[in-house]
Amino acid sequence: MTNPSVAPPVPPRARTVRHRLLRDRGFLTGASIALVMVVVALGAPVLAGAAGQDPSTYHDTLLDSARGGVPIGSLGGISGEHWLGVEPGTGRDLFARVIYGARVSLGVAISATVLQVLLGVVVGVAAGLGGRIADAALSRLVDLVLAVPSLVLSISLLAIVPTSWPRPALLAVVIAILGWGGTARISRGETLSLRTRDYVAAARVAGSGPWRVARREILPGLAAPVLTYAALILPSNMIAEAGLSFLGVGVRPPTPSWGQMLSTATTWFRADPMYVIIPGGLLFLTLLAFVLVATGLRRVLDPRQSEVLL
């Protein structure tokens, strides 16, 4: 490392982790794809502008109206102007819609994951440290959350809220409140095992209250398993968003989302296969990237499990 007086020394464990991650090919591949996706999503307006397109303008002249509105030309109307072709039925630029769709897909999935981790860790640690009654009550609550048929409930929840509410935020909240059970369980289990460790006992004896113990002793120990788990639930949250948008209770048109595109694509899959392949392929690629990140993290952070996973 460089001069320790300029930058604080990286703790040895973190350094090893980083070192190992950078040598993990799966993790690196996944992380770079995910990074590209995030950058593309964040830079959607700039990128679409560079392509000279926006996600909402109709191009009726690019469609063969007599044949139901399929794009004129091969591969769904791919051209120098429309890099991924146009959407059948509307002629909206598919490249612009796909990158704007990435904002919804990633935005909802990431916010939902953050919410799930926050909720799960708070409840999990509270259950692990809170004594028998609190543990029993919170654990039953977690069981309840895990047992709820989340798809059915989220469809009904999303169907009854007024349409004026901001849809992406709502999606993230609904996915999060129905999906934090797993994080809570993992946090509780880990907390229970950590609290019996000597250093935690020592901190207690030294007079640390439960808040301090949780913050200083337990949370750092939770970081590895929870981070790994978060990387695993992120793709499933993405699928949840895509699924809900596919079912028509997700984001409202004209806001694009990959799930919604796949939903409209069901009637076009023979007439214009590119309209299925592009959003479907991107969804697949992004999911794969996050799964690779998750397994990479797990391999490095939890060597005991690495054999089991890969």
Partner: protein, 564 residues
């Protein structure tokens, strides 16, 4: 039509009566179709909805419907001709289209000989009178409301179960004569007499709400088994005779209707046409993009398609009681801005929808008179729209557009998004309000809850201008309690008087001309923005013959197709 038009549309769409097609897609080859030798086989009908009700009192059909017309003969019926010729009624149980007297306020019909119910009982004028009276019973809702309006002193009649004395305005001087007394002249009476409410019902067989489990047939087929919304099996009625009914060919020996299928599945099955599906047709699944992409490519499928047009318009309805739509300049600007090409594509392309600048769809029978007062061209004229708004001193206009939450009836998010984008080009911001399709007509049909701007659809009850224009523009048809279709809430005594004057005409051609002129006059006010008129494209199985769309409803007629 006022109260129940949601039902018109629902019921017709469901029973597939709305289905419309023009003259194309005939299978007429070198050998002409001969109704005398077409008998035999089992016809399959693959449908999405329909067969929710089978009681002639409860059906809301145009021209007697497709499936219902196999079971029920009516005083008159559609003449089942293709194209323009098919927009006229023909005598069915009656010997002619009716004799008007007293300035079209009295209509007299005589029944033909040799007409029987499925049990062999002869059909009498009293059976027809009883069938009509039942349709007034609150237990049997759903039928067209015209008779309640038209017959003298019938508005409050509660049906034969509560008031067995019946309707005085319908007289049956003998078993073969029936006379209708109307409150005002109605030249369109022979068109209304095609409705299933004019089918005979034997009083001693009437079981009230249970009658539809096995309605007594007067047509070529009778019910063998019926499961509501799922399946209907029809076999030949031994007491029907082709001699007394030259309009229905009744070719198949059996007809099996399956309902509750997905449109994409139905069309894929018709394309594949495997096994029994070779004998299949549909009365309510218009082709989707998958099939349209295969059509016109010289494939075998091109020979198995019926194209027609049911008179119907998809339009944007303004509520003049709500700002800013009370301002004609706003309505005009939006009329200039609309991009009809996008709307056509959102509805499935030019094969299934055509751009319309008139409220009346382009059928001569309705009196179609071309006009385009606010020319928007194919793709809209946002510059002109901006100019009109600027001249009116309006800037930063934000409006709300109500639409259905699903696309199945063509009033959904796809069309709404196309409208939104077109108005955006003219600098008008549109926020979309999705309303559950099950309650959409309830919300828009009640002036208290009616949105300022909504996507609407109107289909014709019979090929005439009256049922198209009266519910929408007659000021006396504004119904505050709900079920209102005069969404502009427009009430002009001159227009109302013209409507009354046209209703006295018994010559359809003369009436059509004046309906067209009336539409062209009202069009100047931009009370609605006409978007598209309906076109319908239906496939049929490989073995199906004579699937010729009739001019009244546009789709092929089950009473005339053959699978032999």
């Amino acid at each position: 039509m006022r109260k129940t038009v949601p039902l018109v549309l629902a019921a017709t769409l469901l029973t597939g009566v709305l289905a419309a097609c023009q003259g194309g897609g005939e299978t007429t080859s070198a050998t002409a179709f001969d109704p005398a030798t077409c008998q035999g086989g089992t016809l399959s009908v693959l449908n999405q909805g329909g067969i929710t009700h089978l009681d002639p009192a409860r059906l809301y059909t145009s021209g007697g419907g497709n499936i219902p017309s196999l079971l029920f003969r009516t005083l008159t019926t559609r003449n089942r001709q293709p194209g323009e010729a098919g927009t006229k009624p023909a005598p069915d149980l009656a010997t002619d289209l009716g004799t008007p007297s007293d300035g079209a306020k009295t209509w007299t019909y005589h029944l033909r000989d040799g007409i029987f119910f499925e049990d062999g009982t002869p059909i009498t004028a009293a059976d027809i009178k009883y069938g009509i009276e039942r349709s007034f019973a609150p237990e049997l809702p759903g039928g067209a409301p015209y008779l309640r309006d038209w017959l003298v002193d019938a508005a409050g009649y509660q049906g034969p179960y509560k008031q067995p004395d019946g309707i005085k305005a319908i007289e049956t001087p003998d078993a073969k004569t029936i006379v209708f007394k109307l409150g005002k002249p109605e030249g369109d009476f022979p068109y209304l007499a095609t409705a299933t409410q004019f089918a005979p019902v034997p009083k001693d067989k009437d079981t009230g709400v249970d009658y539809e489990k096995h309605p007594i047939s007067s047509g070529p087929y009778m019910v063998a088994s019926y499961e509501q919304k799922k399946s209907l099996s029809l076999v030949r009625n031994p007491h029907w005779s082709a001699k007394s009914d030259t309009l229905r060919y009744a070719c198949p020996d059996k007809i099996e209707v399956t309902s509750g299928l997905d449109a994409a599945v139905i069309n894929q099955r018709l394309v594949t046409s495997a096994g029994q599906d070779a004998n299949a047709v549909t009365t309510d699944a218009v082709v989707g993009p998958e099939q349209l992409a295969q059509l016109g490519t010289g494939s075998e499928l091109d020979k198995r398609v019926a194209r027609g047009e049911f008179p119907a318009t998809t339009y944007l309805a303004f509520n003049l009681k709500k700002k800013p739509f009370d301002n004609p300049k706003v309505r005009e600007a939006l009329s200039y801005a609309i991009n009809r090409t996008s709307v056509v594509n959102a509805l499935g392309g030019s094969a299934v929808a055509g751009a319309s600048t008139t409220f009346l769809p382009p059928q001569a029978a309705l009196g179609y008179t071309p006009y385009d007062y606010f020319p928007a061209g194919a793709a809209g004229d946002p510059a002109k729209a901006k100019q009109v708004l600027a001249e009116a001193g309006i800037s930063n206009l934000t409006i709300e557009l109500a639409h259905e939450n699903d696309d199945s009836s063509g009033l959904g998010p796809k069309v709404a998004a196309a409208v939104q984008e077109a108005f955006k080009q003219a600098g008008v911001t549109v926020t979309l309000t999705a309303i559950d399709s099950a309650t959409y007509r309830d919300v828009t049909g009640k002036p208290a809850t009616e949105p300022g701007l909504s996507l609407q659809y109107w289909g014709d009850d019979w090929p005439g201008g009256g049922p198209f224009l009266i519910p929408i523009f007659d000021g006396r048809q504004i119904i505050t309690a709900g079920g209102n279709f005069n969404l502009a809430q427009y009430d002009d005594p001159a227009v109302n008087a013209e409507i009354d004057a046209i209703n006295t005409l018994t010559d359809p051609a003369a009436a059509a001309k004046r309906w067209g002129a009336l539409d062209a006059k009202i069009g100047k006010l931009a009370l609605v923005i006409p978007l598209t008129h309906e076109k319908d494209v239906y496939l049929y199985g490989k073995n199906v013959k004579n699937a010729v769309p009739d001019g009244w409803r546009g789709t092929y007629d089950l009473a005339r197709v053959s699978v032999k």
